[in-house]
């Protein structure tokens, strides 16, 4: 391969570094007017009345909307369509949009929002998942799994008790992973432009234009064909722009009403309220180990603080359990999960979606197991790796598994065998691993259509236009798409023109989430390009008098492999083909393979294949202060094959950065005032200064190893890299701190006072640990028992009808099965 695998410059790089890229907020067509939102100042309250008249009389005001103007609910998952563009009847968190004001200028809209008066009747508030399960009334929503529980899950794969009976050692751990947010540099912006014939185009910083398209059609009650959604290049997404947001619907509605472009750009504070970030999760993990470190059974319990709305939360709940099985042999497994509603901004998918929390629990737990069993943590893991191509206890089909090579690479690079456990007091090494999806196996709404499509048009001048719904969010997906097409057709990147993320012009791609784009859009592009090459080869072969099979496409030419000078330019080949066939266009599409699980809930977790990562982190801890510094991170990632190693490295380093932020300092924290004085429950610090995220000065040296073992399911062998490398970082930090000072911090972020608390306990002869003590009493609902492949199961639960997830439940709503 000429291009794929080389560190070529990203196709949007020059535009980005010279300021030419047009993000949503850069678009301001003539006659644009501006929207600002009035947001709830109460965490939970009935809306008694809204007085809009003073705002309507303010200078420049063109229109004012409330929830009653947009009465149809929506939500990213069909099972939890619980949101309105503007709150109706009730508000559920501070920061929830209540009123939209459009004016000639942003300043006028801003001033007018200050004139809106909302009369609220406060309701009791719920601040945590523990509080939610203990407080069924008042309910935040009138749907869900009863009280303030959104979702309960209980799945048992295999005979757990038999597994624990086989164990030599049983370990139990309680831990907590706090919530945090995505913090993309670009604040969400959306511009809606009315078109002829009652049509509207929405330009938005969204990762999921297709889902926004569907929601707009539903809420605005318009035929989808009249709506076009263009996802502008995102200035970072990380999952925070994967939901449909009320402000997108508001500007589309106002553009249609006012007949002029309508724009909104959120403030940084508003982005904190959009949230959809990492769920705070309490976890309890119980695992049986044999003396050799092999696992006999594992029981994981998770309790998720979901915030005020559903978002992706049902999927997030399943994801806190689904991927525990894909790294090491785990023959019997039980997962209990519960997501609660609370009066805080909704949680949702953030890089790693639901998996970094249980991965933290598991990898710290393994470190403790290694100590308890007198084994080296790296050796323990290497000895019990999940085998490639296996079907796990919870019926996930694995692809290639590069985890062993990842561990070997970081163990070698960090001098682990020589240095682990032997560094001077205060300095330590920690090892942890992780795994992630390469695209969710199922779409979020039930259909059998492709999850990604690509169309290629060939120009007789030799240019190639590639159309695909995929969305560039900074991860480099445009470059991947262009490189795959250029590689197959043997042309340069400069000959490829992209048209992406436009529901009016491009074939559907479900969006930039679940690390699906390289694999899914990449495979669709590969198919479309190979079809184009076949047409060109046929025509060129005829013209050259050669067997099409013998032709090579490279260097902008089509030529005989045996006689390279005998050939055509690429443009001549197009002319030959167009002369014979008429206008040239091909398509490609991708549908993931069907996963073997058939039980209810089997839809979350399957992926065409999985990526793997391992990291060793070196830390220096000051026992006088508890302050610590991460000195070095060695990380290896099994990417299958790099389409562009520079971009892969960027994703790995970005994941390390984000993982360190979560592990060291980031917290979506809230303040509740004394309840006798105030009903307030507010985000503690919705600003980039006070929400602490590392800067580049806080970044350690990173040594990255790319493990390349091409997976036939990926395009040219490629797997994901955008999310997986985050996973090992938080547990590697906790494990390194243990190696440095002997303190176990079973929660993240790890603040210095926690280390001092554990050291103080150590000095008193107590367990040197900081973390939650006991898991609350939780009713996870009836347990679905699913025999494992090893037990001769067929993928179904005991007592479940043969329809499995393919059936529609009596409610008429499809069962959950998406990512």
């Amino acid at each position: 391969m000429k291009l794929v695998g080389t560190p070529f410059r990203r196709v949007d790089g020059r535009a980005k570094v010279t300021g030419q890229t047009r993000f949503a907020d850069d678009l301001t067509p003539p006659r644009t007017c501006f929207v600002r939102l009035v947001r709830s100042t109460l965490p939970h309250a009935r809306i008694r009345a809204i007085d809009l008249e003073p705002a309507r009389r303010m200078p420049g005001v063109l229109a004012v909307l409330t929830g009653d103007d947009l009465p149809i609910p929506f939500g990213i998952l069909p099972v939890s369509e619980d949101e309105h563009a503007l709150a109706r009847g009730k508000v559920r968190y501070v920061g929830e949009p209540v009123v939209a004001v459009a004016a000639l200028t942003e300043e006028q809209a801003d001033e007018a929002t200050r004139a809106v008066r909302v009369d609220y009747e406060p309701l009791a508030t719920i601040a945590s998942a523990e509080e939610a399960i203990a407080t069924p009334e008042p309910r935040i929503h009138d749907y869900g799994a009863g009280g303030n529980v959104h979702k309960r899950v209980s799945l048992e794969f295999g005979d757990l008790e038999a597994g624990f009976a086989e164990a030599d050692v049983i370990l139990e751990d309680d831990c907590f992973f706090d919530g945090n947010t995505h913090l993309p540099i670009e604040q969400h912006a959306a511009l809606a432009v009315p078109e002829d014939e009652g049509r509207v185009t929405l330009y938005s910083s969204t990762q999921t234009p297709h889902y926004v398209h569907r929601a707009l059609a539903k809420v605005l009650q318009l035929p989808p064909a009249r709506i076009r959604v263009v996802a502008c290049p995102n200035g970072g997404g990380f999952g925070g722009k994967s939901d449909v947001f009320g402000h997108e619907i508001v500007v589309a509605r106002l553009a249609l009403e006012l007949g002029r472009p309508v724009k909104i750009t959120l403030t940084r504070e508003e982005v904190f309220y959009c949230h959809r970030g990492r769920h705070p999760v309490r976890m309890h993990l119980k695992t049986g180990f044999r003396k050799d470190g092999s696992i006999t059974a594992q029981h994981l319990k998770t309790l998720l603080d979901g915030g005020a709305y559903g978002s992706y939360g049902v999927a997030s709940t399943f994801y806190t359990g689904a991927l525990q099985t894909v790294t090491y042999n785990l023959p019997r497994y039980r997962f209990d999960g519960l997501r609660a509603f609370t009066n805080k901004p909704p949680c949702g998918p953030k890089r790693g979606h639901g998996t970094p929390q249980p991965r933290f629990a598991f990898e710290v737990h393994l470190d403790k197991a290694a100590h308890a069993l007198g084994l080296d943590p790296a050796a323990l893991r290497l000895r019990h790796l999940a085998p490639a191509e296996a079907v796990t206890a919870n019926w996930l089909k694995l692809g290639t598994v590069g985890l062993g090579r990842c561990i070997e690479a970081v163990v070698e690079g960090s001098g682990w065998r020589r240095r682990y456990g032997k560094l001077p007091y205060g300095r330590g090494l920690g090892l942890a691993c992780g795994a992630y999806l390469c695209g969710a196996g199922l779409p979020i709404y039930w259909n059998h259509m492709p999850q990604s499509g690509v169309q290629i048009l060939l120009d007789r001048g030799g240019g190639v236009a590639v159309y695909c719904g995929q969305t560039e969010i900074g991860q480099g997906s445009d470059s991947v798409l262009a490189a795959i097409v250029a590689e197959v057709l043997g042309i340069g990147l400069e000959d490829v023109r992209l048209c992406v993320a436009d529901t009016g012009l491009t074939p559907v791609d479900l969006g930039s989430y679940s690390s699906r784009v390289t694999l899914m859009a990449g495979n669709a592009a590969l198919q479309a390009a190979e079809r184009a090459r076949a047409i060109l080869a046929e025509a060129a072969g005829e013209r050259l008098g050669r067997d099409p099979q013998s032709l090579v496409f490279a260097g902008g030419r089509v030529f005989d492999a045996a006689e390279p000078e005998h050939g055509l330019t690429f443009a001549q080949a197009v002319i030959e083909a167009e002369t014979r066939n008429g206008t040239l266009a091909t398509t490609g599409s991708y549908v993931p393979p069907r996963a073997p699980g058939r039980y209810k809930g089997a839809g979350v977790g399957p992926s065409p294949t999985y990526s793997y990562s391992a990291a060793v982190l070196e830390v220096e801890v000051d026992p006088a202060t508890g302050l610590y510094e991460v000195l070095h991170v060695w990380i290896a990632h099994d990417v299958g094959r790099s389409i562009n190693p520079t971009l892969v490295l960027g994703q790995v380093e970005g994941s390390v950065y984000m993982g360190l932020g979560e592990a060291m300092m980031e917290e979506q924290a809230f303040r509740r005032l004394p309840r006798r004085l105030s009903p307030a429950l507010v985000h503690k610090m919705p600003s980039v200064l006070e929400y602490k995220s590392p800067t580049f000065r806080d970044m350690p040296e990173i040594t990255t190893y790319l493990i390349e073992d091409p997976d036939p399911r990926g395009p040219l062998g490629a797997k994901e890299v955008g999310q997986g490398p985050l996973l090992p970082i938080p547990p590697a930090l906790a494990n390194a701190i243990f190696d440095a000072v002997g303190a176990r911090i079973d929660q993240v972020p790890i603040h210095p006072h926690m280390i001092l608390r554990a050291l103080a306990a150590q000095a008193k002869g107590e367990e040197p640990r900081c973390g939650p003590r006991a898991f609350p009493a939780v009713d996870f609902g009836p347990t679905l028992r699913v025999p494992t492949p090893e037990e001769g199961g067929d993928g179904r639960a005991l007592g479940e009808d043969r329809g499995g997830t393919m059936s529609r439940p009596a409610s008429g709503r499809p069962a959950v099965r998406h990512g």
Partner: protein, 341 residues
């Protein structure tokens, strides 16, 4: 983005003119220099002004004059200029260190020394937008009645946030204040009040014009040190800082010493008990430890900034000790923070 409310902007070229505007405009007038504090505060609507008077067009306010004796630093000299100034680096290196630790390079390029000394007190219940503050029904410092940091408290607990102030107080700096009706020179220390709301002993129409550093505080006579704790070395405000300035007698005992804490009270906090304890003593480990304990006792870190308040209390002890040790030429005893010292 957050938008500024409308106001009149004045940019006089002469100090007398600025003083006259301030005298004439009444309570709605405010002074701005670099704007790194005032503009965000006005955007969040917790500081208000109908007229803003910029000092940046007045050349005499920006000058740094080093006659070899007292060093005069103009109030609108930027923090970057102060940190890079030859005289400051050579004669008052601890001040250069403190100023270099303020925020980030872009903000040091805009922010001024005078602005840093007059920095509004900070609190996580206060440095928020107007809708956020409405959600807590505001607070005592602005538009409300309760101090949410300590709801039964009759006073506001917003904390002092300047890094230059504790160091300059330790070095015994004085400031020149000028109004339409005259001028005065006061010890910087006396500029501050231990009140989160009325934190400056300064009439509204007085302009802070210059900082005067005594020759006796220069490095050949005085050992200065500054230690600052914050989450991120690239930008954050201090959550604890400790500035020390020590004069030793010929025998190596402390003749005189000032220890001033930042971010743990509504004003730069002199730890007089520690100063008295150390006078006449050698700065050995035992003396340092005793003094650091007194520093911790004097401080009142509250839950209104980053990090856990109780832990910050312990850090007062650790950072005060580090500052004293450094002044005595001992190892600091804690791992140095990320920023250059």
């Amino acid at each position: 983005m957050l938008r500024l409310p409308p106001f009149d902007f004045r940019a006089p070229r002469r100090l007398a003119e600025a003083a006259a505007i301030l005298a004439g405009e009444g309570d709605g007038a405010r002074v701005v220099a670099g704007g790194t504090d005032l503009w965000p505060n006005m955007k969040r609507r917790h500081q208000h002004a109908t007229t803003v008077v910029s000092l940046m067009g007045i050349p005499e306010l920006a000058a740094v004059d080093d006659g070899g004796g007292e060093l005069r630093l103009g109030a609108t000299a930027t923090l970057a200029q102060v940190a890079a100034s030859d005289a400051v680096r050579r004669r008052y290196p601890a001040l250069a260190c403190a100023v270099r630790s303020i925020s980030s390079p872009p903000l040091r390029n805009m922010g001024t020394l005078g602005g840093n000394l007059c920095l509004d007190t900070r609190c996580t219940y206060y440095n928020q937008t107007e809708p956020w503050r409405r959600a807590i029904d505001f607070c005592m410092k602005e538009a409300g009645t309760v101090c949410w940091v300590a709801p039964s408290s009759p006073r506001c607990w917003a904390h002092a946030a300047s890094d230059a102030a504790p160091m300059l107080c330790a070095l015994g700096a004085r400031v020149l204040l000028r109004a339409h009706d005259g001028e005065r020179v006061v010890p910087l220390e006396e500029l501050y009040r231990d009140d989160g709301i009325d934190y400056l002993n300064k009439r509204r129409e007085e302009i802070l014009c210059a900082v005067l550093l005594p020759a006796e505080a220069a490095v050949e006579h005085c050992a200065g040190s500054f230690w600052k704790l914050r989450r991120r070395g690239a930008i954050d405000f201090a959550v604890v800082s400790a500035a020390a300035a020590a004069w030793f007698d010929a025998g190596g005992a402390v003749e005189r010493l000032r220890l001033v804490l930042g971010a743990v009270a509504s004003r730069p906090l002199r730890v007089v008990a520690a100063e008295e304890l150390l006078a006449g003593r050698r700065l050995d480990e035992e003396a340092v430890a005793e003094a650091a304990r007194l520093a911790r006792k004097a401080a009142t870190p509250m839950d209104n900034t980053d990090f856990q308040a109780q832990w910050r209390g312990l850090m007062v002890e650790r950072y005060a000790a580090a500052a004293l040790r450094q002044a005595a030429g001992l190892e600091p005893g804690i791992r140095p923070p990320h920023h250059p010292l």
